[in-house]
């Protein structure tokens, strides 16, 4: 009985639309970063903005991440609401001091007297053979450090809604978007990277995970690409009589414990899958939360699948070997179900 017209937007267009809506609404919102002007963002996150808002509010920067992210902090402290883009998350190391010692800590160090209403958006993810310095997600690197909200939406709908929430939030938000979920014409076309997105502004909370598939036998927690793979794997598992509940984490920090714990209390089994490195990663945090809080609900040991602790290799068979995929999720969840 769906009567509303479908507006199919790709992930990048959903993001760009969110930013545009907020720029219209609030003159203090502006965008800065490398190639976010005429180019529209290497991953399309700012497509069309310079045409709409001009070069005064859509600022192409030099390759000076420390300066322009630091400048975003300084401008935010003066009441502006900058949306800065770090082109690839992999480049964080040239500007992490600004991100972490300043953006994330100034609100706290000032006892709440300085607010930094800013968004730092950045592209994450591999799978297209861009090798060790352009393929990481680094979810846990940012999740580990207090003072930032860290989000990683998985769908065009959430990209738009969470971007609007992020811009309106008075706290610094690190907004990770996955390259493969932008729906770009020059990458592999994934069905999940385009969907109906309402025209108007709407918000999606920055601290809530989402059950994207219900099931009673096992809980699979993932984020971004791994969520989508998990859903695919779950469909295959269903054919073997295993009903997996799939949780899209969405928020890396703060992490939504409740949604995870409720699910595990129901399913009694936990599988966590992550595109990031394994050690000290998201799979560890989720597993530890569950082990600590609902230990007695578990009927089998929790299982983790993530990038093994190696840099991301270039060559296709090597990259395919390290990044988790549907097959491996399927097999390992099956093995988990065979436990006990």
């Amino acid at each position: 009985m769906e009567t509303a017209k479908k507006r199919i937007l790709t992930g990048n267009k959903a993001m760009a639309e969110a930013i545009a809506l907020e720029m219209e609404r609030d003159p203090s919102v502006f965008v800065l970063g490398e190639d976010i002007g005429n180019y529209g963002g290497i991953f399309g996150s700012t497509q069309g903005l310079i045409e709409k808002f001009g070069a005064q509010r859509v600022l192409d920067t030099p390759i000076s991440e420390t300066a322009f992210i630091g400048a975003a902090i300084g401008a935010a402290a003066e009441g502006m609401r900058p949306v800065a883009e770090l082109m690839f998350v992999d480049f964080f190391g040239v500007c992490m001091d600004q991100i972490y010692n300043h953006m994330a800590k100034i609100p706290y160090m000032s006892g709440g007297n300085v607010r930094l209403p800013m968004v730092l958006m950045t592209a994450v993810g591999g799978g297209y053979n861009d090798a060790a310095q352009h393929s990481q997600t680094l979810y846990a690197t940012f999740g580990h450090m207090p003072g930032m909200k860290v989000v990683a939406p998985s769908t065009p709908y959430d990209l738009k809604g969470m971007m609007i929430s992020a811009i309106r939030d008075d706290n610094p938000v690190l907004f990770m978007f996955h390259k493969s979920l932008q729906g770009l014409g020059w990458m592999e076309q994934l069905d999940v990277s385009a969907e109906h997105v309402p025209e108007e502004a709407y918000t999606v909370p920055l601290d809530k995970a989402k059950v994207v598939r219900e099931g009673k036998d096992v809980t699979i927690v993932g984020v971004q690409m791994m969520t989508h793979y998990a859903v695919e794997a779950a469909e295959r598992l269903a054919k073997e009589g295993i009903e997996a509940e799939v949780i899209d984490l969405r928020s890396i920090a703060p992490i939504d414990k409740d949604t995870i714990l409720q699910s595990v209390k129901k399913t009694h089994r936990l599988f966590v899958v992550d595109e990031d490195y394994k050690s000290y990663g998201m799979t560890a945090e989720v597993t530890a939360i569950v082990a600590e809080e609902v230990f007695y609900d578990l009927e089998a040991p929790p299982r983790r699948l993530a990038n093994p602790d190696v840099p991301i290799p270039y060559s296709r068979p090597l990259e395919d070997f390290v990044i988790p995929n549907v097959d491996r999720i399927f097999e390992q969840v099956k093995a988990l179900m065979d436990e006990e």
Partner: protein
């Protein structure tokens, strides 16, 4: 007036008195801090003990850099300072009581005790500082950008040490500010040392105003720790910035009378160096100059001094009298809701 090189400074007596007052206040503030910091740290020095623990970087001797430019600023202009921030904070008009309470870790402090001496934030006068070398320059550039985007004539001043001018943030921020023609002034306080490392071992060029050439902007060099010369160089730079004519680098020769931090054994430095420097003290010089100008009486000067010291004493008393924050409040202020 013969003590400073500029014979006829076009500086109003009012401004001179203001600068003198701030310098006295700043100096006295640090003198008191030397004492307070030692409390609880004898007979054995322990950095974590006493009413004021942690690192302590004092600015004794460096007052001219701060007052010579802040005299041109208003509440609406932004100042970012580094790890050695008290003189800048005082010259920018930071609430002295709250600042001192913060340094004592009290709940009445600027940051409710969460920040400490290197992390003072007073948004009312747009002052901030931080413990990471050179990191405040981009923040000042951002404030300058905000001013420009909002169509204001507000300027932003980033204070840094000469050691900090070799950090990448210096280059990136000045290029950005020059490119975007931002009202940014970077003041480099050359106190000859970055902790123990002399300038000649850190800096490939004689002074950092020369680096203005790398950005096509203006540079100025202030010799002899001279507040009047600093006043003049800053007057030009601030006017340029307000007029939308872009950034300036000002380097000032100044002197760090104390160790890098309190407790620094200073084995890298000739013991005779500081006593020599103190003989040419800029506060003494300005005092003599004011008297010689004969527009200020000894009595008036004493009144200025007394008033400055009184404010400092009150601030310390306020800090001592204030309460520590509740331990659980450590969990607050990460996010606002």
């Amino acid at each position: 007036m013969a003590t400073f090189e500029e014979k006829q400074p076009a500086v109003s007596m009012e401004k001179l008195k203001w600068m003198y007052e701030q310098m006295v206040k700043s100096r006295y503030y640090e003198d008191q801090m030397v004492e307070v910091y030692t409390e609880g740290k004898a007979p054995v020095f322990n950095i974590g003990a006493g009413p004021v623990p942690g690192e302590m970087h004092l600015s004794t001797g460096q007052e001219p850099a701060a007052v010579g430019i802040c005299v041109h600023l208003t509440k609406d202009d932004t100042v970012t300072a580094p790890h050695r921030p008290h003189h800048h904070a005082i010259a920018k008009g930071v609430d002295l009581k709250k600042m001192t309470a913060e340094i004592f870790g009290k709940e009445t402090g600027l940051g409710k005790g969460k920040g400490g001496h290197m992390h003072l934030f007073d948004p009312d006068v747009k002052f901030s500082c931080g413990g990471i070398v050179a990191a405040g320059i981009p923040h000042a550039a951002g404030a300058a950008l905000a001013s420009k985007m909002q169509g204001r004539d507000w300027v932003a001043v980033a204070f840094i040490g000469e050691g900090a001018a070799n950090a990448g943030a210096f280059h990136e921020s000045l290029n950005l500010a020059a490119l975007w023609n931002l009202p940014l002034i970077v003041v480099v306080e050359d106190n000859s040392y970055g902790i123990s490392v002399p300038k000649a071992s850190s800096t490939a060029v004689a002074s950092n105003d020369l680096r203005a050439a790398a950005y096509g902007i203006s540079g100025a060099y202030v010799k002899g720790n001279d507040p009047i010369a600093m006043y003049k160089a800053s007057e030009e730079a601030v006017a340029r910035a307000r007029a939308g004519q872009g950034p300036t680098i000002i380097e000032i020769e100044t002197h760090r009378y104390l160790g890098h931090f309190q407790g620094d054994p200073e084995l890298y430095r000739d013991k005779a160096e500081v006593p020599g420097l103190r003989q040419l003290d800029p506060i003494l010089k300005l005092r003599n100059m004011l008297l010689e100008a004969e527009q200020v009486s000894e009595k008036e000067i004493e009144k200025i001094e007394k008033q400055a010291k009184k404010k400092v004493d009150e601030a310390y008393q306020f800090a001592r009298d204030s309460k520590y924050p509740e331990p659980e409040s450590a969990l607050k202020d990460v996010f606002t809701s």
